[in-house]
């Protein structure tokens, strides 16, 4: 078991280093305009601009830049925002914004798991009946239609029907409902889809038939054998849900003007704020890898076979 965990930690570290390197190198190709504060773009001549860039170290060899960046990173210096919040240290911005995104993400994920699993269970229970059909319809809709369309519709129309605020307010819990629900929609579909599929797969296994032959009631067989085993492949997919939530938060936070990191990334891109884009992209990459790692840990926790094979 410890060997398994160590192996996974090592693997995640390697991935983090590679991803970090690749993304950092890609970011060297960012439009140069993104390094200038607004007023300079219009006014300064070519020579001043180059001098400005050289001054910032942006004309150095990318590896030198990477070294400097990493060194600063360990000092806690993430650089400063350029156009979105001119001259504000990015670290300060993140400290302010990460909790908002984390809060939203946490509740959406929870909602996604609870509602998604219940929906999946319902679909298995009423297989080939109306509940199953409705569930499948929902899953198909959420997965096929571009999320922006229904998210926008929810913001404009559903808010009217339930008389909910159109945008997010820090101090109005009522205004948190729509963003959290919207963010959870695709997770719900996702959990329901896979739980149903895995449970149907499990139901055809011999040991489920054997459990029935043992004389256990259907409910107990479903709970202790079918559901218990379907959870294993599902938990291997859990990190993908985190990626789902991250992707969704870019749209949701922009739509509802939520002061989180997702909204910040879209604003930074629209305003061409290179420093901010760089930090945010790297942060998302690292968070995702962390998520994948946690998923592996969870898998080891629910699947005893991993302990057996790896020791």
């Amino acid at each position: 078991m410890t060997k398994y965990i160590l192996k996974r930690i090592l693997r995640s570290l390697v991935t983090v280093v590679i991803v970090f390197f690749v993304v950092f190198m890609l970011l060297r190709f960012m439009p140069l305009n993104g390094y200038f504060p607004d007023e300079m773009v219009k006014e300064a001549d070519e020579a001043t601009r180059m001098a400005y860039l050289r001054n910032l170290g942006l004309l150095d060899h990318p590896l030198v830049q990477l070294g400097r960046f990493v060194k600063n990173l360990f000092k806690g210096d993430l650089g400063r925002s350029i156009t979105v919040y001119p001259k504000v240290p990015i670290a300060t911005l993140l400290v302010e914004k990460i909790p908002v995104t984390a809060f939203l993400g946490f509740w959406s994920m929870l909602l996604g798991i609870v509602a998604g699993l219940s929906m999946g269970l319902m679909m298995v229970r009423f297989r080939s009946r109306i509940g199953d059909t409705l569930g499948n319809g929902y899953i198909m809709f959420v997965r096929a239609v571009p999320s922006l369309l229904y998210l926008f519709f929810i913001q404009i129309q559903i808010s009217k029907w339930f008389n909910l605020p159109l945008v997010y307010y820090d101090d109005k819990p009522l205004s948190w409902i729509l963003p959290i629900v919207s963010l959870a929609l695709s997770s719900i579909a996702w959990y329901a889809l896979w739980l149903r599929r895995f449970m149907v797969d499990e139901e055809n296994q011999d040991y489920v038939k054997f459990a029935t032959v043992k004389g256990l009631p259907k409910k107990q067989v479903l709970k202790k054998h079918v559901f218990r085993n379907a959870i294993i492949p599902l938990s291997a997919y859990l990190p993908s849900d985190l990626l789902n939530i991250i992707s969704g938060s870019l749209v949701i936070e922009t739509l509802y003007a939520i002061p989180g990191t997702g909204g910040l990334l879209t604003t930074a891109i629209k305003n061409q704020d290179n420093n901010l884009v760089q930090i945010l992209v790297l942060m998302y990459a690292v968070v995702s890898i962390l998520g994948v790692f946690l998923g592996d840990l969870l898998l080891a926790f629910v699947d005893p076979r991993i302990k057996l094979t790896d020791d």
């Binding site: 296994q205 011999d206 040991y207 489920v208 038939k209 054997f210 459990a211 029935t212 032959v213 043992k214 004389g215 256990l216 009631p217 259907k218 107990q220 202790k224 054998h225 218990r228 085993n229 294993i232 629910v302 699947d303 005893p304 076979r305 057996l308 094979t309």
Partner: protein, 707 residues
């Protein structure tokens, strides 16, 4: 008259409805007569009647077609004895017993008949609650594959204890104590520790013991065992059979044992029911069925066993393939495959005819009207058996070596580590002989075959030569081509070895295409058609997909695919083990015929020693990657030396209840060899008899061989 009989044919429908009161009366009479015959055996059973199935019909809906899996069949299960149901795949033996426990697949239903158990008709059960009173508690079941019948992510203790807790409402602690007792009872050592382990930590045989422990946890009255040993190795199979027998006696349960293996039946059964095409065609005590079978199918099945064949002669083989149950079957379902069928067998379904009080069969041969014909058949069979003289064994004095294998080692990567599936194996194959490689699953026998065929190359050590030239390692394109033309392979699983998306024409022509071994398109087609006829299939099959064929037919297509290349040497990798009993003899005969006609040499890989004895000239026994013994066939059976060979031979089931009942298993424990300092070597101990052992062991073997 004929019309009336048809209308009461239960296969049409169990509820006989007729406008004609006379026909109705006749039908009732016939039913009463059958009941009477079934009841005759009652006083010969050990205990009272437990379960009584009457005229059960089971239908399945498959791809919009209706399949009648059970065609109105009746069976009685008495207390405290073992009843074996024998039949090949698709005969309905498994489906039939599944109705006893309400486990038919969703697309199947009981379409008639009654299932009386404790005064209730279980065929009328509709709700889960009704079945919960029976399942596990009164009737329990053991499945075929122990690797899949236990939940891999829950401890085996929990899986047994949950049954006890649910059925007896016991607390967790009590259930645990009882589970440990059960584990002890089924022969699992250190049960306290084993309780907390997962199925992955158990071997196949141990898992089947756990499954059996689960099944008997509630002291069921009937234990249904659905081919419980088919997936196990011979030595393990013998142990599990012993366990089932002793538990049956100890708990005084009834065991309904489903199998296709007549050797197993002889070992375990008190009573035998033979099933064919959804119907029980013969019923009797084990001795009666084995010693004096009456139904043509039972007779043919027994006669086609390789144990009863004479070397060098064709095995008696059953022609054709089992019938499709999608169609209405008229008369005796076996008639189309029965070369001695009478006209009436095609016309009318035979009723039950009693032989003795305990023995009946559904065949017109037992009708008083067929008496003279039956006598003539018996006389002919006796004559045939008398005349068979075994051929002289293969003469090795001037034999030419076709293949030499020296120190062959095959390594596989598993996770991080490598292991040797084959470990330093050396042997020769002589031109014209059949050398059999026998071992249990995972012993490396298939790997040897594949290494010789160059399917594995990079991980192979040692040297293989063919006709004097080395064929391991890198080869030129020309050499490879030559090898492909001279060496071919036949595979185990006829379902997996044919490309489902290609027509028979392409499958057989594949090798011809590769090396352009034909002059024109007509020539190619002619070659394909010829080889098809040679393997006993008609040339119209050429434009069909493999999907349309039965297992035996597919295997013959696979043989045709290899033979069309005109090879000198064939590796036959378990070519009959996936086939039905009634088909095996056909394929064995075909292989022998081809060997004679084309002077082939075979490397025959198998785990079934009975077929091996019939087909091979020499036998090599392999255990965990090492060859342990190699000797001419009869020599090996007469004087086995290696303890593993002895264990293997003692475990082989033989289709004779008398010898099976008195059989003594010789256990084998690899720990008995002490190879720590004295290393074992592969030695020719007497001419032609090789054995694996260290100096001390060899001395013992030598003494034994001389004695």
């Amino acid at each position: 008259m004929k019309k009336k009989l048809k209308s009461m044919e239960p296969a049409d429908n169990s509820a006989v409805l007729s406008d004609d009161p006379a026909a109705q009366e006749e039908a009732d009479l016939l039913r009463a007569y059958e009941q009477e015959i079934f009841a005759r055996s009652e006083k010969h059973h050990n205990g009272p009647l437990l379960l009584s199935a009457r005229d059960v019909v089971v239908r399945f809906n498959l791809r919009g077609q209706e399949l009648t899996a059970i065609r109105s069949t009746s069976l009685d299960v008495y207390e405290g004895e073992t009843l074996a149901i024998v039949g090949e795949s698709g005969s309905g033996k498994s489906v039939f017993t599944k109705t006893f426990i309400g486990m038919l697949d969703k697309n199947g239903r009981i379409d008639g008949g009654e299932l009386f158990f404790h005064g209730e008709d279980m065929a009328k059960y509709t709700t889960e609650e009704q079945w919960l009173k029976v399942r596990g508690k009164k009737i329990a079941m053991v499945f075929q594959d122990p690797m899949t019948s236990l939940n891999p992510v829950r401890t085996i203790g929990e899986q047994i204890a949950e049954v006890i807790m649910w059925h007896f409402g016991k607390s967790h602690e009590e259930a645990k104590a009882e589970t440990i007792e059960l584990l002890k009872k089924v022969g699992i050592h250190d049960p306290e520790k084993r309780y907390k382990q997962y199925p992955g930590e158990f071997s196949g045989g141990m898992r089947q013991r756990v499954v059996i422990a689960t099944a008997i946890a509630c002291r069921p009255e009937i234990l249904i065992c659905d081919e419980p040993t088919t997936a196990l190795d011979v030595t393990v199979q013998a142990q599990v059979l012993d366990l089932i027998k002793s538990l049956q006696k100890e708990l005084k349960m009834s065991v309904v044992f489903i199998t296709h293996d007549l050797g197993v039946v002889a070992n375990i059964a008190d009573w035998v029911a033979v099933m064919y095409a959804g119907k029980i065609v013969e019923y009797g005590t084990a001795n009666e069925i084995f010693k004096s079978p009456e139904h043509p199918y039972t007779k043919a099945l027994l006669r086609s066993l390789p144990q009863l064949g004479t070397k060098g002669h064709d095995l008696y083989s059953i022609q054709g393939t089992p019938p499709s149950l999608f169609k209405q079957i008229t008369g005796d379902a076996f008639a189309p495959r029965n070369t001695d069928a009478m006209k009436i067998d095609f016309e009318e379904e035979p009723p039950v005819f009693p032989v003795t009080d305990t023995h009946w069969a559904r065949t017109w041969l037992l009708s008083p009207q067929a008496e003279s014909y039956r006598a003539s058949l018996l006389a002919r069979d006796a004559e045939q058996q008398k005349n068979a003289v075994p051929e002289t064994p293969f003469d090795y004095t001037n034999a030419e070596k076709l293949i030499t294998v020296r120190d062959l080692t095959v390594r596989f990567k598993m996770g991080g580590s490598t292991f040797k599936a084959v470990n330093g194996v050396s042997f020769d194959i002589f031109k014209g002989e059949t050398l059999s490689l026998v071992g249990e699953s995972g012993s490396g026998k298939t790997t040897i075959g594949r290494a010789i065929m160059r399917i594995y190359t990079g991980n192979v050590g040692g040297e293989v030569t063919f006709k004097g030239s080395k064929i391991t390692g890198k080869l030129s394109r020309q050499d490879k081509k030559k090898l492909h033309m001279e060496m071919q392979m036949i595979f185990q699983d006829p379902m997996a070895s044919l490309n489902e998306r290609a027509k028979v024409d392409y499958i057989i022509s594949e090798g011809l295409y590769n090396y352009h071994l034909y002059e024109s398109e007509e020539d190619r087609v002619a070659k394909v058609e010829n080889i098809l006829t040679e393997v006993g299939l008609t040339s119209e099959f050429i434009s069909r997909f493999p999907h349309e064929f039965s297992g035996g037919q597919r295997q013959r297509i696979g043989i045709a695919r290899s033979l069309v290349m005109n090879p000198d040497f064939l590796v036959a990798d378990e070519p009959i083990s996936a086939l039905d009993v009634s088909i095996r003899a056909q394929v064995i005969n075909l292989l022998n015929k081809m060997k004679k006609e084309r002077s082939l040499t075979y490397l025959f890989i198998a785990h079934d020693l009975s077929a091996v004895r019939f087909i091979s000239d020499r036998i090599a026994v392999i255990h965990k990657g090492h060859l342990v013994e190699l000797a001419p066939c009869e020599e090996l059976f007469a004087h086995p030396l290696h303890p593993y060979t002895k264990a293997l031979l003692s475990a082989v089931p033989y289709p004779d209840p008398d010898s099976e009942r008195n059989k003594v298993l010789i256990p084998y424990d690899p720990a008995m060899h002490d190879y720590s300092s004295d290393k074992p070597v592969w030695t020719e101990i007497t001419p032609g008899h090789f054995i694996y052992g260290n100096t001390k062991e060899l001395e013992g073997y030598r003494r034994e061989a001389e004695a």
